[in-house]
């Protein structure tokens, strides 16, 4: 006989009274430490509206029935393909250090070992903050968290590792760059020009997500509004000249890492995404002309696997509705969240204490990813909290864990395996509702830019970080090996280092000195008049809000003006971002 709603309600009452309550009483608890979900928990009668098929609106069940990697999974296993080595038209592992020549040589060494992915460039903080290697701000930071790039010449030296079979019309590039993204995109375009490669052939992804820098990551240069003008200019320039280049990579996970709650993370990322769409529209483009070239870095990130799966499902549904209903998009490609990582634990879930435990943690994140439309990737490598740069051993363990989830556990053989679960559907609805309420609040303030200017978003994240810390210190939340199970009889398991360091420490140590000498030489040799003229032109153009600055920035880059010289001109016109007071 078919269940009636009333019948389930009655049965639920009976269960609570006869089974649940006596048990709670028996263990002397205030309430049950578990929950159980029934058809009463959620509305499962609107499957097509709320879940739908993988690859169809609202994309709750996934962007596709299966992705590229899944189509080739068997071949990859037969041939021992390593995604972190790149190839098959992808980028290699994220990295960068020292001078451009140091990083070039490293890339060449990797290539000689068969690692032939496109460059996935980490820039040093000096570059990310719009300074040159010879700036007083640069002292101690040159080439440290990434490679130093002060000029087109520096950029071109890195790319000496990419010629012939691996030329830039054949391999894509990734640039983790935000505030000076316009300058790096200009360098990429100028490099293609020098090599006689049509811009239309260039593929890749600049991060170009300045708004989250104000909320979380902290490498902003200019105030939010002129920063968004630069975003608009890159968006329009990329669409008209470099149509195969993605425009940006919108990050939610940085916001989460900085301490945001799940709701804040989802709402703030969506608010940022909306602001980027509005910037593209302001640039005169139609939404379907550019939204398909938006990408996302990763959303979410915590150990709470059920919540993280619900989060991914809710995020896909929210974005699809925002793009279709609010902006009138017609192209389904505009409506999907294209991201390399779906669910994951977030680097801040890793612990310095008993670090090998981080592998167990990352696997849980990978399970969440595999069950929410992504590669079941164990991320990050277990040594993430130990310092900068992952060891080769940790990367190997991470990769093998991923392979075990794919090939042995077959985690990703089903699309959205949680679809229709009373619990998961109700959790997805709840996640979405809470994020929509927070998004409305930001909307009422005037959107993401206004909620950054008034300090709301950055402060909210800082407060949430502290709330989380209080929960850990008061043992309301437990972290194994940190605030529980820390007795002397616990064993700190370690592994023996047997593999060479990823980057040469000696090169890192001397990078600053060598990079400064190289920059001094460039400044002596270049045509000073050309530099001054191009910078003056940039300044004039910057004063007119309607002008697209990309052609002027390309001209500066080509004349060997440095990244800082370009940013300094813009600092003069735009001003500088001010630190947020707590």
């Amino acid at each position: 006989m078919k269940d009636s709603r009333k019948g389930i309600e009655k049965a639920a009452e009976k269960w609570e009274a006869e089974i649940l309550k006596p048990r709670v009483k028996r263990f002397n608890l205030d309430r049950s430490p578990t929950s159980f979900h029934t058809p009463l928990s959620c509305d499962t009668t609107h499957f097509l509206d709320k879940v739908g098929f993988p690859g169809q609106f609202p994309f709750t069940a996934g962007n596709n029935p299966f992705d590229f990697w899944k189509a080739h999974a068997k071949t990859a296993a037969l041939f021992g393909f390593r995604p972190d080595w790149g190839g098959a038209g992808g980028v290699g592992k994220y990295g960068g250090f020292g001078t451009p020549a140091d990083y070039r040589d490293y890339l060449l060494r990797m290539q000689s070992m068969g690692r032939k992915g496109g460059p996935n460039i980490a820039f040093d903080l000096v570059t990310q903050c719009g300074y040159d290697s010879d700036s007083p701000y640069a002292e101690g930071e040159v080439g440290r968290v990434g490679v130093a790039v002060s000029s087109l010449r520096d950029f071109s030296i890195i790319y000496e590792a990419y010629t012939g079979e691996l030329d830039i019309d054949k391999v894509p590039s990734n640039f983790t760059i935000n505030a000076p993204a316009a300058v790096i995109i200009a360098m990429y375009a100028c490099l293609a020009g020098k090599r006689g490669i049509p811009l239309t052939k260039l593929r890749g992804t600049p991060q170009n997500d300045i708004l989250k820098e104000f909320i979380a990551r902290g490498t902003h240069i200019f105030p939010p509004r002129p920063s968004m003008r630069l975003f608009r200019d890159t968006c329009v320039f990329c669409r008209s000249h470099m149509p195969s280049l993605n425009i940006n990579s919108i990050g939610g996970y940085h916001i989460r890492e900085a301490g945001a709650t799940r709701t804040q993370d989802l709402a703030f990322s969506m608010a940022n995404g909306i602001a980027y769409v509005e910037a593209g529209l302001e640039g005169g483009l139609a939404v379907d002309e550019f939204a398909p070239a938006f990408t996302f870095n990763a959303f979410g990130g915590s150990m709470e696997i059920y919540h993280e799966i619900a989060f991914q499902r809710a995020a896909r549904r929210m974005w699809a509705h925002i793009i279709r209903d609010r902006f009138g998009a017609k192209d389904p490609r505009s409506m999907t969240i294209r991201q390399p990582i779906t669910a994951h634990i977030g680097c801040s879930s890793t612990t310095l204490q008993r670090p090998l435990n981080n592998l167990a943690r990352a696997v849980i994140g990978g399970m969440g990813a595999g069950m929410s439309g992504g590669i079941p990737g164990a991320f990050p490598p277990f040594d993430e909290p130990l310092g900068l740069g992952h060891s080769q051993e940790a990367v190997q363990l991470q990769l093998d864990a991923t392979r075990i989830m794919i090939y042995e556990a077959k985690v990703a053989d089903v699309c959205d395996p949680w679809a229709g679960s009373y619990f998961m559907e109700s959790l997805t609805d709840e996640t979405e509702e809470q994020a929509l309420a927070e998004l409305e609040k930001i909307g009422n303030m005037g959107g993401a830019v206004a909620a950054i200017e008034n300090g709301y978003m950055p402060r909210a994240v800082a407060k949430s970080a502290y709330e989380r810390q209080k929960k850990i210190e008061s043992q309301e939340e437990f972290v194994v090996g940190v605030n529980c199970f820390v007795d002397a009889h616990e064993i700190d398991v370690s592994i023996n280092r047997g593999v060479e360091a990823t980057y040469d420490p000696e090169l890192k140590r001397t990078a600053e000195e060598r990079q400064k000498a190289s920059l001094a030489e460039l400044k002596r040799a270049r045509n000073g008049k050309g530099v001054v003229a191009s910078l003056k032109n940039l300044k004039d153009q910057a004063r007119d809000q309607d002008k697209n600055l990309m052609p002027a920035i390309c001209e500066c880059v080509e004349s060997d003006a440095t990244l800082q010289e370009i940013c300094d001109v813009l600092r003069e016109v735009f001003g500088e971002a001010q630190p947020v007071k707590l």
């Binding site: 903050c129 301490g259 310092g387 970080a465 707590l582």
Partner: protein, 160 residues
């Protein structure tokens, strides 16, 4: 007199590193512990930090560094404080600090190094103990003060 003024702490982000979570958490936490906390915001030069510390007449400077540049940045702050005759200011460092660098920092005169997983209460206790050691005759007064502020912190009061 010391008992009239609360312990003043400057939480500072030297260099270009933009990771603020640790600085935020420690700033809020020490405020709830009853300290008077000033946060510099991002991207301060060692010179700016030294002059803020002297101007604000702080007892403690907490440097938060996750970029790997902790040795050179901390050295500059320590030298700067010394040059201004402010070596009585307790300096602590937090962030991603490899174990092998801890000793080097301590040799520079850094009072305490606090990495991921540290408790606010331990940082606060460290500050109280070290300041007590530096000025033993003031310890009692600080002790009295401390009890009072802990009671306040227990109400769940949070920094503004």
């Amino acid at each position: 007199m010391v008992q009239e003024s609360r312990i003043r702490v400057l939480i500072a982000k030297p260099g270009l590193d933009g990771h603020e979570r640790g600085a935020h958490v420690v700033a809020y936490g020490l405020r709830d512990e009853g300290f008077e906390v000033i946060y510099t915001g991002l991207r301060q030069t060692p010179e700016q930090i030294v002059s803020a510390a002297v101007q604000e007449d702080v007892d403690v400077v907490g440097l938060s560094i996750l970029s790997g540049a902790h040795l050179s940045l901390t050295r500059k702050v320590m030298e700067g404080l010394k040059a201004k005759g402010a070596n009585d200011i307790l300096v602590t460092v937090g962030g991603i600090i490899p174990e092998e660098d801890r000793e080097a920092l301590e040799r520079m005169g850094v009072g305490g190094v606090f990495t991921s997983g540290s408790k606010i209460k331990d940082i606060a206790a460290h500050i109280r103990t070290r300041l007590g050691e530096m000025c033993p005759h003031e310890e009692e007064n600080r002790g009295l003060f401390t009890e009072g502020t802990q009671a306040t912190a227990g109400t769940g009061h949070e920094g503004q």
